[in-house]
Symmetry: C2
Amino acid sequence: MAERSPGAVGIGVWVDLVFLSDGHATSSRSHCSNSGEEEEIPMDPDAVAKAFVDHYYSTFDANRAGLGNLYQEGSMLTFEGQKIQGSQSIVAKLTSLPFQQCKHNITTVDCQPSGAGGVLVFVSGTLQLAGEQHALKFSQMFHLMPTPQGSFYVLNDIFRLNYA
Amino acid sequence: MAERSPGAVGIGVWVDLVFLSDGHATSSRSHCSNSGEEEEIPMDPDAVAKAFVDHYYSTFDANRAGLGNLYQEGSMLTFEGQKIQGSQSIVAKLTSLPFQQCKHNITTVDCQPSGAGGVLVFVSGTLQLAGEQHALKFSQMFHLMPTPQGSFYVLNDIFRLNYA
């Protein structure tokens, strides 16, 4: 398994869940084995998507500021039609949303390889805000791209509420 | 502008709308100009997404079999959780859906560049089936990738109905 620099630890946390729970890497990149030969380890998009979705929404509901290390400078968020670029601006948007406590309930998760080692994740579910009677329905898509450290980051993120 | 082979005409129809209506190409690839120098023409993801969405849903509603030339052998469709790969299988799925006439109404279209010249398109809207009282809400995402002929094809397609 590739070694990670200290700076990549946060980004790699949710992928570590995949690595550790399954006992094998899900990265699509080549690694040098102990014998020095190149070894291609196939990526499992479903495992990456599941680990990401679990980590993303539990972090969103517990500590939105903690989502920052899932994004990079080139990352894009389109939130209800508003386009935001870069990790700092994205976290500023997410932490400024006009509610304190929320709980996502995930209904469906679909994923496909996007080419070039990326994974597309398409999520639908509901968002329950504290003090509100009715949950809001939402759809969201992510494009996860591999990092040199053997993890993934969010390159694309598009969120929409599904109004009744 | 790159010449198209006869087989690529169908795939290029909706992009031609972008080319012709705006009077300039929206492809991100390099073209050899008459002087023989490489010329980079920036892609406009919004124009590509709008032309695609107009073409895709009007074709779906008028002649689903006509969608086949938007897909290629490596294309993937996840339809209500069912994974289908390849242009022929995807069209077979779409044409076998248990309704004859339908009308899509598009509510939102969001798009972002996906890297490597691709465009991510995220759509929400309603689907009215002939003889049904209520329209169905849906969300759908596409990953459009450039072709060597100067057009785009659908590499990824994920569709979900949003049940109330």
